[in-house]
Amino acid sequence: MSQFRKGLWRSALAAAAVAGFVTSAAAQMELKIMAPAAPGGGWDQTARSMQQALTQSGIAKSVQVTNVPGAGGSIGIAQLVNNSKGDGNQLMVMGYVMVGALLTNKSPVTLDQTTPIARLTTEYEAIVVPADSPIKNAKDLAAAIKADPAKVTWAGGSAGGVDHIAAALFAKAAGADPTKINYIPFSGGGEALAAILGGKVTAGISGYGEFESQVKAGKLRLIGLTSAKKTANVDVPSIKEQGIDLEIANWRAVVAAPGISADQKKALTDAMDKLAKSKEWQENLKAKGWEDAYISGDAFTKILGEEQTRTKEVLTAVGLVKS
C-alpha cells in the first residue's frame, strides 16, 4: 500500500510541476461542488470536507456545496450533464455506488458523458459473522456457500450496491453460482447491523467502519476485508490472502461537467492534486477514518472504465440488469 501511495505522490507531484503555470489562476477559483445525495451521507460529507480543505488552504477562493438528492445519484448526474455543459468550475462527488445505481435505474445519462477528474478516498468492504457462528474464516464461509448458496443469508445495503456486488463476487470466487445468493438488502446500516448482531443472518457485508466497534467489542467476528493485503487496522488477513480471489473497494471520486476545455480540465485536476496533498485534507481524512486513494488524470479515467465493465457483468449475472 505504502509503495503504491508513494508512486501516486510522485505522479501527483510531477503533474503539479508540469502545470505550474496555472497555479495563480487556480488560486482565484470559485468552485461549485455538487453532492448528488441528501445532506449527511458519505458523498455529502466528502463534498463538505473538500469545501473546508479547499478554502482553508487557499486553493480555491470560494467553494459552494449543493445537494441534488435522489436515486443513487441518477438525478444529480442528469443535472450535471444537462445543465452544466462547459462549466469549468463545477465538480460533482460520486462513487462506486453510482456506477451500479445508473445501471439498475436504466439512467439515460452515463458516466462516460462526464469528465473524470480524480479518485479521492476508498473504503474496503468487510465480511463479518455473529461471534457465536461456526464459521471461523473465509474458507469456512466459501465452503458453506459452495454447499448451498441459498442457505447462506447475507445482510447488507441496498440492492445492486457495492455490498451486494461484493457478496456476488465472493460467491463466484468460492465457486458457487452468484445468481443463487440469498442477499437481503436493508435500508440503513443500523438495521443490517441489528440483524447480524441478532443472529438472523449468516453473514454481514458493509464498509469496515460500520462494524469496527462491534468487532473490537467481540460481538462480531471479522472474516476479512476485501483489500489485496491485510491492512494495519485489523488483525485478520485479507480475504484474498485467505485464498478467495476477491478484491473490491468502495471509492469516492470527483468528476466535472462534460464539454470543458483541456485547460479547464487541467486547472481542476491541479486543484485536486493540491487538495490531496494539503494538510487540511489529510487531517480531514484522519478525522473521518477515510483511506487516501488519490489518483487523477488518465489513470483514474481507466479505472472508472474498468469498474463500469466489471459492475455491469456482476449486475447482469445476479439478474439486476438485463443485458
Partner: protein
C-alpha cells in the same frame, strides 16, 4: 445506584455555563426547524456538522441533542395551530390538536402537548439511563418476522380507528398503501410505478404527502366553502390554560404514550410514527368521551405527543449502546460522534463515560428548557389563529411550499404537493378520512420489506411467523384486536334480545 453516581457526574458536565449555552442554542434551533415542514432536525445537524468541527465535542453533541428534542416540540406546534405537521411523527397530533385549536382550545392543546412531551421525555430519558443495557438485548433479538407482526398489530388497531365508516377508512388506507409501492423496491432494486420519473425512484416523501393532504387540502377546502358559510374561528374560548378537567384527562394518556413510544423507539426499525398511531388508537378506545374524538379530544393530543417524544429518547438506546443509528437524526448524531473520533458502540459507555453521561444529563436540561420556553409562548402562538382566514391560509400555502422546496428542490416535488393537495380537498369534500393515507404510506413499505426479508431468510417457509415467540405473541394480539369488537357487538345484541 452506579447509574445515579454517573448521572450526577454527567450533570456536573452539562451545567457548565458553556454547555448550557450550547443546549439553549440547540433547543432554539431545533424548535425553529421543527416548525418548518420539510426541514427536520437531521438536515440541520448535517448542515451544522462542518461548522462545529472546531468546537469542543461535549458542547456540540449536547447542542445536537437539543436540536433533536427541540425539533419534536416545534413539529407539534404547527400541527396543532395550522394543521401542518412539521414532521411525520406529529401527524397524529394534528388530528385532534387542530380541531381543538379551531374550537378555541388551542391553548390547552399546546399546553398538554408541551407538558406531555416533557413528562414523556423525562421518563424516557430515565429509561435510557437505567434500562438501556437490558432493552438493547431485546431490541436486537427483533427479527424481520417480528417487525412484520408488529406492523400487523399497527394495521389492525389503526385502520379500525380512523373515520366513522370502516369502508371509507380502508379505502383511504389502500390509497396510502398504493402510494407506498411507488419507487425503487428495496429488496429487488427495481423501480415500480415510477413511470421513468427519476424523482419518484426514492419513494414518495412522507412529509410532502402529509403537508399536501393536511395543509394544502385544508386551505383549498376552506376556500371552497367560504361562500357557503363562513367559519368563525375564535382564537381563545374558555381558559387559555389547561383546566383541572384537562389535567385529569391528560395524565393517563401521557403515561400510556410513553409506554408505547420508548420501547418501540428503541427498536432498530421501530421509528416514532408507529407509537403515535398506536397511542392515538388506544386513547380513542379507552376514552370516556368518544363523541369528542374527531372534534378535538385532548386525549388524542396528549397521548401521541408523549409517544413521539418518548420515541425520540428511545432512539438513543441503540445509538449509544450499539452505535446503531435508527433514525435520520440519529445517523447524523453518529456522524457527529465520529467527527471527534468517538465510536458509539458497546465500548462507548466504558471509554467515554463523561461525554455519554454529560449527553444524557443535558437531555434532562434540554427538556426542562423546552418546557420553560414553550409554555409562555402558548399565549403568543394562539394569536396566529386570530389572523383573518384568507391571510392565514395564504400564509399556510406559502409556508408549506417553502418547506417542501427547502427539503427537496425539484419541480416534481412541488407538482406532487399540489396533486396531494387536490386529493386532500376531494377526500375532505367527500368525507374520506385522510390520516390513513399517510399511515399506509409509512407502514406499507415497512410491512412489505420485513415480510419479504423474513421469508427470504426462512427460504420461503411462512411458518417462521409463528415459530418466533415475539411474532407469535404479536400476531395473537392482532387477532384478538380484530375479533374482539365483533364478539362484543354480538354479545351486546344477545343481551339486548334477553332484555
Amino acid at each position: 445506584m452506579e447509574a445515579f453516581v454517573s448521572l450526577a457526574g454527567g450533570l456536573a458536565v452539562a451545567i457548565q455555563p458553556a454547555n448550557l449555552l450550547f443546549a439553549l442554542i440547540g433547543v432554539l434551533l431545533g424548535t425553529a426547524v421543527g416548525v418548518l415542514p420539510g426541514i427536520g432536525p437531521a438536515l440541520t445537524v448535517a448542515l451544522l456538522l462542518p461548522i462545529t468541527f472546531k468546537l469542543d465535542p461535549a458542547g456540540s453533541i449536547i447542542m445536537f441533542a437539543g436540536i433533536y428534542y427541540g425539533g419534536m416540540y416545534g413539529g407539534s406546534t404547527t400541527a396543532i395551530l395550522i394543521n401542518t405537521p412539521g414532521e411525520s411523527a406529529s401527524m397524529a397530533t394534528a388530528l385532534e390538536g387542530n380541531q381543538m385549536a379551531k374550537a378555541g382550545r388551542g391553548g390547552p392543546a399546546l399546553a398538554t402537548s408541551a407538558i406531555g412531551s416533557f413528562v414523556a421525555g423525562t421518563i424516557a430519558t430515565l429509561g435510557l439511563t437505567f434500562l438501556a443495557p437490558y432493552l438493547v438485548d431485546i431490541a436486537v433479538s427483533f427479527g424481520p418476522e417480528d417487525y412484520f407482526a408488529l406492523m400487523v398489530v399497527a394495521f389492525v388497531t389503526v385502520s379500525a380507528t380512523f373515520g366513522d365508516s370502516p369502508v371509507r377508512g380502508l379505502t383511504s388506507l389502500f390509497i396510502g398503501l398504493m402510494l407506498g409501492l411507488v419507487g425503487i423496491d428495496i429488496l429487488s432494486g427495481q423501480s415500480r410505478l415510477s413511470f421513468g420519473v427519476p424523482e419518484l425512484y426514492d419513494n414518495i416523501e412522507v412529509t410532502t404527502l402529509a403537508v399536501g393532504l393536511f395543509a394544502v387540502g385544508e386551505a383549498l377546502y376552506v376556500a371552497s366553502r367560504r361562500h357557503v358559510h363562513e367559519e368563525k374561528l375564535e382564537a381563545v374560548r374558555g381558559s387559555l390554560w389547561m383546566t383541572k378537567e384537562d389535567w385529569k384527562r391528560s395524565w393517563k394518556p401521557w403515561l400510556r404514550g410513553t409506554m408505547f413510544g420508548f420501547p418501540i423507539g428503541a427498536l432498530p426499525a421501530g421509528g416514532a410514527e408507529i407509537p403515535t398511531f398506536l397511542s392515538y388508537s388506544t386513547e380513542k378506545r379507552l376514552t370516556k368521551y368518544p363523541e369528542e374524538f374527531g372534534r378535538g379530544a385532548i386525549e388524542g393530543v396528549a397521548g401521541p405527543e408523549a409517544a413521539n417524544n418518548a420515541a425520540a429518547a428511545g432512539t438513543l438506546v441503540p445509538l449509544l449502546t450499539l452505535g446503531l443509528p435508527t433514525s435520520a437524526t440519529a445517523a447524523m448524531l453518529l456522524a457527529g460522534f465520529q467527527q471527534y473520533g468517538l465510536n458509539p458502540g458497546p465500548l462507548l459507555f466504558a471509554d467515554q463515560p463523561k461525554l455519554v453521561w454529560g449527553l444524557i444529563a443535558s437531555l434532562f436540561i434540554a427538556n426542562t428548557m423546552l418546557l420553560v420556553l414553550n409554555l409562555p409562548l402558548v399565549g403568543l402562538w394562539v394569536r396566529l389563529l386570530a389572523i383573518p382566514q384568507p391571510w392565514l391560509y395564504a400564509g399556510i400555502l406559502v409556508f408549506a411550499t417553502m418547506g417542501t422546496i427547502a427539503a427537496n428542490p425539484s419541480p416534481v416535488e412541488l407538482i406532487m404537493l399540489a396533486v396531494f393537495g387536490v386529493l386532500g380537498f376531494l377526500m375532505r369534500r367527500f368525507d374520506f378520512p385522510i390520516a390513513p393515507v399517510v399511515v399506509g404510506l409509512i407502514l406499507g413499505p415497512i410491512a412489505e420489506s420485513q415480510l419479504r426479508r423474513a421469508l427470504s431468510i426462512s427460504l420461503g417457509d411462512p411458518m417462521v411467523l409463528l415459530q418466533s415467540p415475539i411474532s407469535a405473541t404479536l400476531l395473537t394480539i392482532a387477532l384478538i384486536a380484530l375479533i374482539l369488537p365483533f364478539f362484543l357487538k354480538g354479545l351486546g345484541r344477545f343481551r339486548a334480545v334477553e332484555d
